[in-house]
């Protein structure tokens, strides 16, 4: 990226549709800003709510043409596929249980899919989607957005280049605190669906943020654990899904890891943090201060590597927009995923395509199922 002005000629915006993300939604608005930030998309159609009335009102608020404000996603998929100016891609930002049916409908209609995580509420469902995407040759992105941060890209490249030596230890954690009390009982929409197995699937905290932690660690280290032992807990009385996740990880290489995710840890807002240690050095990165990476070459002082500074490798430089010291954040990282998807849609094969795809989505669901199985068996080791 580093300055959109560097691009040779302004491409026509990609026509984007959205399913979910109507009034009161959080992640839908994030996707819209992310799509807009680099000027690569135009939002032109939507089925923004399961409630037709709300869907209509939300569409008007977003300036969609009335005829492209759909009451159902099936109708939308059909109608958009039929239009000469129909959407090229759809963003799916519904509760988890709707990801797979909606994605399938748009894949069937020949439309690229950008889907929030977790991909599906069962591994079988996830795999069917994967087959469908392959069969239909449609692009399928899963918005594990945290790998959009420039210093996450830098960390990945550092490790791939051997800067830390052989990786030994992976400590990843993702504590939040917003579910410390039973807010789902107060009608808070975000909490309600996330703690409802019918909408969220069988993982609570595990699916909502544990999967992000798992994905981030896998991306940065380039390694997937071979097996895990999980101890899930639910601390809030009456809650139907886990709200705290403790997992030990073993890698085929002999490396070991720990993953902690929690939504009941007061003082933690969105405190995703990754530390990786190898035979030659270690790194530490924290999402709440994403513009700094601590790099500790063994025997030397820890260095504070900042986004866009000369120490950052090309993989990180490529996805930074403004100079160091001018903080970029969550929306920029999310926008980077969208920009990379746009580049892929445009088939600009000369740009790196790093956004998370359906294989990442399937792996995330496999992780959820493995962790559940382990926890249900007294934290027995389960192969991934």
């Amino acid at each position: 990226m580093s300055g959109e002005s560097a691009r040779p000629a302004a491409p026509r915006p990609i026509r984007l549709g959205m399913v979910g993300g109507g009034e009161g939604a959080f992640i839908g608005a994030v996707h819209r800003i992310a799509a807009r930030l680099d000027g690569q998309y135009a939002l032109v159609a939507g089925a923004l709510s399961a409630s037709p009335e709300k869907a209509c009102r939300s569409a008007a608020a977003l300036g969609l043409a009335p005829e492209r404000a759909y009451a159902s996603f099936t109708e939308m998929a059909r109608a958009e596929a039929a239009r000469p100016d129909g959407i090229e891609a759809v963003a799916i930002v519904t509760p988890n249980h709707m990801h797979a049916p909606v994605a399938a409908a748009f894949l069937e209609a020949g439309i690229h899919v950008i889907c929030d995580k977790p991909l599906a509420t069962s591994l079988a469902e996830a795999r069917r989607l994967q087959e469908l995407a392959t069969a239909r040759r449609r692009l399928f992105a899963v918005t594990y957005n945290y790998i959009g941060y420039p210093l996450v890209r830098h960390a990945q490249a550092l490790i791939a280049a051997g800067a830390l030596g052989e990786i030994r230890i992976v400590q990843v954690e993702y504590p939040q605190d917003w579910l410390t009390e039973p807010v789902e009982d107060t009608g808070q929409k975000q909490a309600a669906w996330r703690t409802d197995p019918a909408q969220a699937g069988r993982g609570g905290c595990l699916g909502d943020i544990g999967t992000h932690a798992f994905h981030l660690a896998g991306f940065v280290t380039g390694m997937q654990p071979a097996e895990l032992a999980a101890d899930l807990a639910t601390f809030v009385a009456g809650r139907r899904l886990d709200d705290n996740v403790h997992i030990m990880l073993r890698y085929a290489s002999g490396a070991r890891g720990m993953l902690w995710a929690s939504q009941v840890a007061p003082g933690n807002e969105n405190n995703l943090r990754l530390r990786v240690y190898g035979a030659k050095g270690g790194i530490a990165w924290r999402q709440e201060q994403p513009d700094a990476l601590h790099l500790s070459p063994f025997g030397h002082p820890t260095e504070i590597v900042t986004r866009a500074s000369p120490a950052v490798l090309p993989a990180g430089q490529r996805v930074t927009r403004i100079p160091p010291g001018h903080p970029e954040g969550y929306l920029e990282a999310f926008a980077t995923i969208y920009a990379e998807i746009a580049a892929a849609i445009r088939s600009e094969a000369n740009e790196a395509v790093t956004f998370p795809g359906i294989a990442d989505g399937v792996a995330g669901v496999a992780f959820i199922e493995a962790a559940l199985r382990s926890s249900e068996n007294g934290a027995a080791w389960v192969r991934l």
Copy 2:
């Protein structure tokens, strides 16, 4: 703000033009992202470079219609004023010496102006612009963007509400390091014009970032110094403007302050920082970690107040987009200024209009002149 989806109906985007900001520019790209982020503007015209060829190429890269890619700003002002679909506002992102002539041309043409700082290269020029804007009844915004941060708004509201008691001490500093070496001699464009009196005006570091520090302190405290004593220095041999600024401040109330700005302080990227102390408490805020404000009520532990958390006052909540822990940064703060300008252009009188206006621009130039006069007189006290 807090979610564009909350808005009742999607307003038509404001038609925006840009002067400056072509290939190789920094702040032009920032303005474009800021304008785009909340979906309130459409960039439709530009005179993007003093070089016609570059202007043309830059316009194409940004997708402007060829007939609205102008070779000169005078032509642009005239032509756009004549179009029924002409621009409603122009963003001026040229080197400093062009701010005033360009702004005057568009004001004369009846077009609102969004101008980078410092407003002008002399106080007389700045005041003429102010008169012109008043006479033409056009909106005039000066992008002192750092007051777009939510916690800066919160800090201002806290102090206005008396949370710190009577203000005693203001410590503001803005160190950078990118001019530690004579990069202007290497052809680096950003450095070249900023160290050239013909383009930057008589203030170097003083005008480029000292004015930001001055504006931030004034906004947050609600107080303007009555007098200042300035000691400017130029450390890099051959440099023609100051690169380090030391200023002591006195306020009419008896409060005292210090302002330090530097572009030759290695280890500081864009380290704007404000501390304010009163009879009842103190605050500290740092631009590089903008989502945290330290509040120290005297006799009690320091509190880390985070953006969008319940402790933030409405003035701060209003300009936050996403939940705490999901970092917002420089571009979001800049976009907030643009969104507030958009609201003012639409005359939505029911929203607070907090963006910096021409009075702030004039005050910034007055500050530069006072500091220069003081420094030239051995750091004598000079009234503002």
Copy 3:
């Protein structure tokens, strides 16, 4: 404490002996400074090394009278017990395998014991010591020194007072990096004995620092885990003991925990850190910045509570010496343990006796054995 000058009359120093801690030792010097810092002890005798020559040279360097520089601890125990001015307490700072024999010898001789951790190299041995100490009615302290920090005391008192509500999650970690490479092969004395099962016992990192983490978490929360699942690893080729420890914890109350200890995590010097989360709030404390505790009441900003500040409870105030902002560190915390032992020896029953005793020592060894058993059984849950 808070000022030795507050004490009514200067008591005679307690006569102290030392076993171990000769030339090249680390922890022996620490014990000596700790004993000296508050002026409560006089070091008057020692068997400072297993090598008689070294013992003699070390004693001279410390100013011991030649006749009280012993070549063996058995001789020392016998001779000191026979002197009218014999030592009242002995500090045992040998490698682990000598703790129990030395301690037993001095207990038999009727001398109080201050012993480094872990108490013994087997649980059976530890329990025999406990019986002996009880039978001989001698005071027995085990220097889990990290609970000497004022803010650790404050944290314990906060939780005991219910400030965090029911405890749900305990995250404790103690990473170091000094064994990242096989320094034991280079003759480094500290590394050599700690990685030698004959001297260290069956736990490497587990016994050396894992026990500290375990003890700290137990002290602060007031809870001991009911069971644990441990996954130990040895990353450095040829090393004979574990150098990385991953443990999941379950408490009888339903609380869960994670414990990570490592000596191969580059960038971590002595990074002991404890976080505890309850239904009403959370705390975080880090040994490398011991003068600050983060307290997060749910729904309110995190507070930075500083040592000796008004927010600190009496249990913390009592063990602080100087005002906030004047950092106290490791030696002060260690000295606090020594001062509390001194108070107990003097039978000043009116002062709180909080130093770790033999029960803590036994619990530490039980923890080591349980973790080894779990890890040897594929991280099976083992009761503590």
Copy 4:
């Protein structure tokens, strides 16, 4: 230092006396711990209070022999000089106005002096002491204790070795908050004398902590300012001395500086902080986290250099006691000054003698007088 056990043979403790530091004193207790920590001194005599009764009670509490608990310092100087086992050095920890008379008395008696800062309440008085010390050939130390920190020594050595290139900018600040309210009116002893011109001299905050900031900057940079412009203020109504100090500094080399000291800045406990910038890099150090120094070589990432780590130069290593990650603090730094004084008293010429001497003391008083003169003349530049 690095381990007292390295010393060849235990030297006899130096016999130390103390004037001031009785009940309720702060700095007296600090001096006593500092003297004790490395086992180099024995406190054997004192005139601990101007009130004979309090002096007697304080001496008993400290275990002094009754005949060496003096009611007046003149008596003490005379009597100790006459004893064969009289004190070799005296620590003067009285309010400022007594420093000079007490020091003179002990110098006249041929006894070495360790005096708290500021050395005297007038420059004339300070110079007379200097002459007297020279004439009597007695050692005279002034406890500017902050230069006892290992990383301050390292910083000094780094700069002396040219690591930062030519020094351009010195930013030093020392904010506290304990005088935010008029606590002197409540009988708080520490506040009462420090705000009383008769006891503190003509500088309030300026003398109490401004001098520390001034000394630290001078020590680390190896440069003394050529002139200063000071703006002192008193914010608390009724207070008779300054409580906030703003100073601009100019060095003969062309370097510039700022010094801020305050005792009315809520949220700052003892927040001494130094930043130095040169043509090749910058450093930042903060007393409240003394075990980390930020080193920023221009163009490279900032490094976090930790006490006792391999990156620390010998000047820093020499004064560290325990490994990195085991925090040392204020008392250790103070003890280092005492240990260096002890080495000088013993004439161990083979150890570096870095403690602050009477020349530092005189320079501190000259600084106070210059700042007062400048401030009284509207912040005019005054030569130092």
